[in-house]
């Protein structure tokens, strides 16, 4: 199972392939007869000047009502089966609270550590163009342990946003006054995009964040560091 980059994207991939095969078949079932009829029954002087009378066919009508019904009900049921897995985080998932705002993200880890990512943390400040994920400063990246399911609890501070994890192919809106959830797991270290998928104003298109997926030990170290620094800071403040 290691070859899968991210969960639950594998379920999406299977659903996509099932749909694609069925769609191509349906397309051909419509297109090929249509193309044949268009050529065969084209108007030709002296040969095919008049249409022939065709009796209505109850059998055909029933056929193309029943078969599509079965196909779409199968698709919806298959989707139902996958969706249960895609929606419900496995046991032992790491819970991260995400709060969206105009325009950025706040990630809060179980031990209280927070990471902020703003719309201008992912852009080159001089040119106002997107950076590639590796050029974004690590302090704005949300660290994620490799190969561990993450459950995101999402809300918003102002308007509706949507948390979309690019490699995991999951998205869920972050609605003010509600807590929504989604889960994902990324199996390969690296930097991955998170985008806002619900229109939220001027900087909507820059409302991205970077997930930095690291091995588990490195994640634990990183998680503790920040908290110690915070605690030291708060001592000074006292």
């Amino acid at each position: 199972m290691k070859e899968v980059l991210a969960y639950p994207a594998n379920y999406w991939q299977t659903m996509y392939e099932i749909w694609l095969i069925i769609s191509v078949v349906i397309y051909l079932v419509v297109f090929l007869p249509a193309a044949y009829f268009l050529v065969k029954y084209r108007y030709r002087k002296g040969i095919n000047e008049k249409a022939q009378h065709v009796e209505e066919s109850k059998a055909l009508e029933v056929l193309w009502t029943i078969i599509p019904t079965i196909v779409v009900i199968y698709l919806a049921t298959q989707s139902f089966a996958f969706y249960r897995v895609q929606r419900n985080a496995p046991e032992g998932a790491l819970e991260i609270k995400v709060t969206a705002f105009m325009w950025g993200w706040e990630f809060e880890y179980p031990n209280g550590k927070k990471v902020f990512s703003f719309f201008n943390s992912v852009v080159d400040p001089e040119k106002n163009v997107y950076l590639t994920t590796d050029k974004v400063n690590d302090m704005f990246k949300a660290y994620i342990p490799e190969g561990r399911p993450i459950k995101v609890l999402c809300t918003s501070r102002d308007v509706i946003h949507s948390f979309y994890v690019h490699p995991a192919k999951v998205t869920e809106d972050c609605v003010p006054g509600r807590i929504t959830h989604l889960w994902f797991q990324i199996n390969k270290p690296g930097d991955y995009w998170v985008f806002c998928r619900e229109y939220c104003g001027t900087q909507h298109s820059k409302m991205a964040a970077v997930l930095k997926v690291v091995p588990k030990e490195e994640f634990e170290n990183w998680l503790q560091q920040g908290v110690q620094a915070n605690q030291e800071n708060s001592k000074h403040n006292l």
Binding site: T65, A76, S79, V129, Y130, T171, S205
Partner: protein, 539 residues
Amino acid sequence: MAAVSYKPYFSAGLKEWIFTTDHKKIGIMYGVTSLIFFLIAGLSALAIRLELYQPGLQHMSEDTYNQALTVHGVVMQFWWAVGIWSSFGNYLLPLMIGARDVAFPRLNALSYWFFFAASVLALLTLLPGNHIKMMWTGYPPFSLNDNAGPTAFYALIVHMLGASSLASAINLVVTNLTMRAPGITLKKMNLFLHSFLAMNVIQILGVPALAGAVTMLLMDKYFQTAFFDPTRGGDPLLYQNLFWFYSHPVVYVMILPAFGLISEMIAVFSRREIFGKTSMIIAIWGIALLGFMVWIHHMFTSGVPDWIRILFSYTTVLIGVPTGIKIFNWVFTLYKGSVRFKTPMLYTLSAIFMFLIGGLTGIPLGLPAFDIAVHDSHFVVAHFHYVLGMSLTLAAFGGFHYWYPKYTGRMYSELWAKIGLLLIMIGSNLFYFLQFIVGLEGMPRRYADYPPIDSWIWLHELQTIGSMILGFGIIVAVLNLLLSTKLGKKAEDNPWSSPSLEWLVPSPPPPHNFDKIPHMPEDWDPYNYEWLEKQHRKH
């Protein structure tokens, strides 16, 4: 036919146009307004595509982009996709049923002038300080935020259009049900009339929900109510429910008339009655009914409970069944026909195959397991540009060409019409097919800028090139239609030899349509092409 010759209905002074209650003139006025706004929205689309050609912001600021996208969405939906059918409906419906005008001609004029008032309001939003940047959906709490621009404009535009649509819908339903000439029974109504009937019923049932939603929005923003403001106990999802309760059925308001036009044209140019006409009528009403039961698929990722998503995924994919029936019946209408590849027929066939792709890519959007990855991505955008953007536009342009001799008494240039269509098909497929792919790769919708991911860049570049070809094709088609009003050859009264009633009066029709209300004989049927030949032999 007529011994007395009349001035054509369109030779009238400015005053007569403004104060007219003639359904034909009002239909033309709807059409011209609609087409002007179609071109404005098309230009804003080209500006959007130009900006997306490369990552980074080269030509405009984010706010300008967001405004252009809002204009594009609102105008294309309401002025083009809904508005253009007011033109076809007003002009053709009374002619098809053998009436001299609609049931309430003055109400009809009022409908148009409401539409005109909305158009003026829409143009006012282009002035600095009035820019609305909330997308056509206008979701709160964002639309309550100052970043969205003056929400009042949005709400009032929707109200104006809603009043216009409601009045027009009631008018056309009453006209259709009560003013049909003797001999045109419900069963002998053509599919154009059936789809316009269903479409107007959807309008009557749906518009109040949207009107309610935007009224609450207006009160929330300016009168301190809290329907949608979560900080004061409101619920933003309430708006989405009300909004989509109308705004999903409205896509059938847009596409059912297109289906009606497709049915008319494919029958005439195959010289055959529509295959399975009864099942076509059942399918139209099936779509209209199911259309009200699927709106949650716009909210599959909005935080509504999971079981509702599953329930609505079943109702959503079931809409594919009546739609599929329509497509199969069209294909079998070609069977044993005598198919003529005139411009309107080519538009019709293009519309059917664009709809097929759009329909097949719509099914997975009803499956939450698929939608979870592409909700609010460019995949969705490509889907509705295939069905509404292209299929609808192709059907409408097919209709322009098909009824062109009826409207103007002249013929368009067949060659330029075909060149225009070829460019439209090449451009749109290059554009929208690649939009599916960039959507599958995750490109979120409504993004002025995007990160420099290699595959996204070349996909966007080709899409922009496609959109320019598409725009050029539309210009060729529109110019051909405009110039042919002067340069076109005189057309015969019934160039397509159709027995449908609108073709049995002279082209262009006299101001009062019918010298006397026709009595349609027993053996007449709008798709009975042999009846027409028999009539000719008699003369």
